[in-house]
């Protein structure tokens, strides 16, 4: 089934992943896993240099229409983050913003994060937020209420706190979940379907840090109906990305 992957990365990691061209690697994964669109943030931006990472990814993706970008921003560099959003959200293949609280050493409820959130909401309709516990999920719910036009994907769905993340998604129409996680806890997707419904779940793989088949295996284990599969793997993400092209 064709998929839209809403959580991926472009770049290299200090793990046992071959040092092949990162763009080619993502394209190979897309081909093998029938991923029509893969939305990525830059590993270089996440780990070391925000501007250099966003720039590198923008250049790499310019000629590959199936690879889309999140602008990575950092609450510790507010003016620079605003400039990054101004620069890259003007490009049609940058579709949203990515924030990683831990890698920017800033809590979700910190004043500078709140300030950045306002700047994001003023410029984008889509935010992927690395979210690894219930407190973070609830804080994102508060931002969702404050900025109803900003759709927020809780990346990793709160890790092992995914029930709490799903409850936040149920309460806020603009909160979505993706389930990529190195912990493939059995039952978490079924419980999320009960709590917040399939319309609030998107597919995200965390490629190429994690294998897309690993996350696909979670959904296979959850035995989604064909209708729910279509919603999770395509429709919900297509709505967020405002794609008109239907799933094949």
């Amino acid at each position: 089934m064709r998929k839209i992957d809403m959580h991926a990365h472009h770049g290299v990691w200090s793990y046992s992943i071959p040092l092949a061209d990162p763009t080619e690697r993502l394209l190979r994964l897309c081909e093998r896993e029938e991923i029509a669109y893969m939305v990525c943030s830059s590993a270089l931006a996440l780990l070391y240099d925000m501007q250099a990472g966003n720039a590198e990814m923008a250049e790499a993706f310019a000629d590959h229409q199936q690879l889309l970008g999140y602008v990575y921003v950092n609450p510790n560099f507010l003016p620079e983050s605003v400039a990054e959003m101004e620069r890259y959200l003007a490009l049609d293949y940058f579709v949203g913003v990515k924030i990683h609280p831990r890698l920017s050493a800033t809590a979700e409820n910190a004043p500078q994060m709140a300030e950045l959130m306002g700047e994001v909401a003023a410029r984008s309709s889509l935010l992927l937020m690395h979210t690894v516990d219930q407190n973070a999920s609830r804080q994102m719910g508060r931002y969702a209420e404050q900025y109803p036009e900003l759709n927020i994907i809780l990346g990793h769905s709160g890790h092992t706190d995914s029930n709490a993340a799903a409850a936040v998604a149920r309460e806020h129409p603009n909160i979505y979940l993706d389930f990529c996680c190195e912990w493939p806890g059995a039952g978490k997707i079924e419980r999320a379907l009960e709590i917040c419904g399939p319309e609030k779940i998107v597919f995200g793989s965390d490629s190429d840090l994690l294998e897309p088949g690993f996350t696909r295996g979670m959904f296979e284990g959850a035995h989604l109906s064909a209708e729910h599969e279509r919603m999770v793997f395509w429709d919900n993400a297509a709505r967020l990305l405002r794609l008109e092209k239907p799933a094949a």
Partner: protein
Amino acid sequence: MLVDINTCFGTSPKKRVRYADTVTAARMFDEPGQVVPTMQEVDWSLDNLLRVIDEHQVDLALTYSLRGKLYDFVTGNHETWEAVQTHPQLVPVATLDPCRHFGCLEEVEHCADRGFRVFRFFPDEQGWAIDSLPFLRICEAVAEYGLAIMLPAGGWGQQSRIAELLCPLGVPVITLAATFTVVAESLAVAAAYDNFFCETSAIHTVESIEGFAQAAGADKLMFGSNSPESYFKSAYNLVEVARVSDQEKHDIFGGNALRCLQLGGHQ
């Protein structure tokens, strides 16, 4: 033949099953001192484990009782032994807690006599160190019976230490749940020690499986799913899509476990 070397069953109170036991990478993602992730509800029952392995056509599942890990290894191992008597698709894995001292060596002998093929250890959850003398004495006893030893891969450095301490005993030593953060160490150690093996459930990337096969040999990998805690297909898909030969895939999915753990009698 599909052999899953990493399963368990029981009636575990969820608060005592620590996330970090199975996914050490949590330590990388979460700041120390943050809210401890709550363990979600898992149907740990034997019935559910049997359902999972039946659904995925697992021929043999190595399994242990959570009672043995979290409460009492004597009654836990007995529970495991009872389960395998009525379910031939299960292969018994014994557990021991070195902190108990009393009865540990006797339990090794008892389990060996009952046909257990593997002893599995839980240093993180039970709060002891892998280089502690009581643990090493137990491993020596386990090795006298020619049984295999399983324990978590842990953080960076632990697998090297495990190999240094235990591989000289000459029995298979298998580390579980090596994540992408420590796979580089896994393959280096597996290449250096003939009797060191790794389980696949948490390796997370296909390239790591392929890289492992190239560097250390596919004969040093054994498939494990961490069922019923984890979705079976997540671990399965990693091996299934790996670009290794059909023979290597066959070995990872069961051939290596059959050979190294001498499971022929269970087929």
